[in-house]
Amino acid sequence: MPLKIVHILALLMSFSLFSSGTVYAGETEEEFNVGEMIMHHIKDAHEWHLWGPDHGGTSIYLPVILVDGTSKVFSSKHFYHGKEVSFELSKDEEGHYMEGVGPAKGYALYHEKIYKLKNGQMIIKDGHAENAKPLDLSITKNVAFMFMSVILLLVILFSSVKFYKKNGAVAPKGIAKFVEPLVVFVRDDIAKENIDAHKYKKYTPYLLTIFFFILVCNLLGSIPLIGANLTGNITVTMFLALCTLLITLFSSNKNYWKHIYATPGVPMALLPIMIPIEFIGIFTKPFALMIRLFANITAGHIIILALISIIFINKSAAWGALSVPMALFISVLELLVAFLQAYLFTMLSALFIGAAVEEAHH
């Protein structure tokens, strides 16, 4: 059964690839650019590109929300179906940006970022736009994907709770049977294991929330067509790491700071070196959390896309015999990584919180 799902996944994966980026039948002259296609896939966008060419393919146009004096809400269609402006990027390279039309008039979309036109044009130097940016609170692909994931998560969790409400404290059945072991795992093997026995209860809900949030986003993210690279987005991992950092700092006790400013057992002469190291350590730990999740999930997406791209680079379906099994293997590995990274992020968060609330041992 799981194998079947994986097969379907692989199938969808290859299907979605046809849709990705600039791949459209050999008729066009445009060179297939793997790097561009992959970057396009793993980065955020204002549209949900499903299949077909970049311009004129099938996409779901997501709402753009701009706060620029007044707030403006309109469909991103007004950018993607706007006026394409070409300019000289370098000697023999051409750049493009999309000038908004209709409600998007006065704005332009360049590399998925919205800029305010200055005197009706973009000022681009060495590929960098120098125009002012309005506050962009658009429902981008990642935001839409996050809404979807959270809704799915809520559906799963609320139906689990419904089971307990109906049946009381009995052995779980149905969806609760899937959720409960994970909850118990986070509580016993992550929270209880790393945080003092009489303090872990306070932090368990947070740990459970990041675990399930990351897990669901990781898993959904690896489904072609509906998956976005949310947990492989630096903004999201930064926010999650920031939460852990803030919780660590706000729940830290005297003992924690004593370990930083007067590490016990360290000779006085070493303290001038130790203090900066320990102090930097406060920030490097969540920084590592941020990078780890971002890099792992993004790398997974990149590898799968690159493997599937073998077919398109060589312009022969026969290469599928090589690239599909390899992509399938990596997809299965990504399932493991999805769980592993959710576990690691949660476990390390618990570890940092545990260190912050630990009482001195005598």
Binding site: L135, S138, T140, V143
Partner: protein, 164 residues
């Protein structure tokens, strides 16, 4: 480059969604699920403890039963032994009783035989004496029937005396 640069819009939505999610599921999901799991774990722990206690109780009960059984067995053995002893004593008593009785009877019989015998001997003696007297009378009558004979007797008697 913008792959590793945070985007404010996404940060805003992530923060909003995550914080809301955290509060909603803490209140409506984790609290009820964790309390249910705790409750069940407690129930299981209690049940296990109860089972353990019951086992202990059963064990002690069994030991008690064993004790009672042992006691009963010992008592029974004692009773049997007593009964056997009593029986043996009764038999013994009966035996000795019978023996003394028989001895008594025998003694009585012997005594009566003895006395019978004595009586018989006495009677025999008197009979013999009377026979002797009769015979002596008859002899003396014959001896004294003539003068010569009287004289001879007297002389014999005198002779016997002299010899003494």
């Amino acid at each position: 480059m913008d792959l590793i640069l945070p985007d404010f819009g996404l940060l805003f939505w992530t923060a909003l969604v995550f914080v809301l999610l955290l509060f909603v599921i803490t209140k409506f999901i984790w609290k009820p699920i964790l309390s249910m799991v705790n409750e069940r774990e407690q129930k299981i722990a209690e049940s296990l403890e109860l089972a353990e206690r019951t086992k202990e109780e059963m064990k002690s009960l069994q030991a008690e039963n064993e004790n009672i059984l042992k006691q009963a067995r010992a008592e029974r053995d004692g009773m049997l032994k007593d009964a056997r002893e009593v029986a043996a004593k009764m038999v013994e008593d009966a035996k000795t009783g019978a023996k003394t009785e028989s001895e008594k009877i025998l003694a009585a019989a012997r005594q009566s035989i003895e006395s019978e015998k004595a009586a018989a001997v006495a009677e025999l003696k008197t009979q013999v004496a009377s026979f002797a007297l009769e015979i002596a009378e008859k002899v003396i009558r014959g001896e004294l029937s003539s003068d010569d004979k009287q004289k001879m007797l007297a002389e014999k008697l005198a002779g016997d005396i002299n010899m003494n």
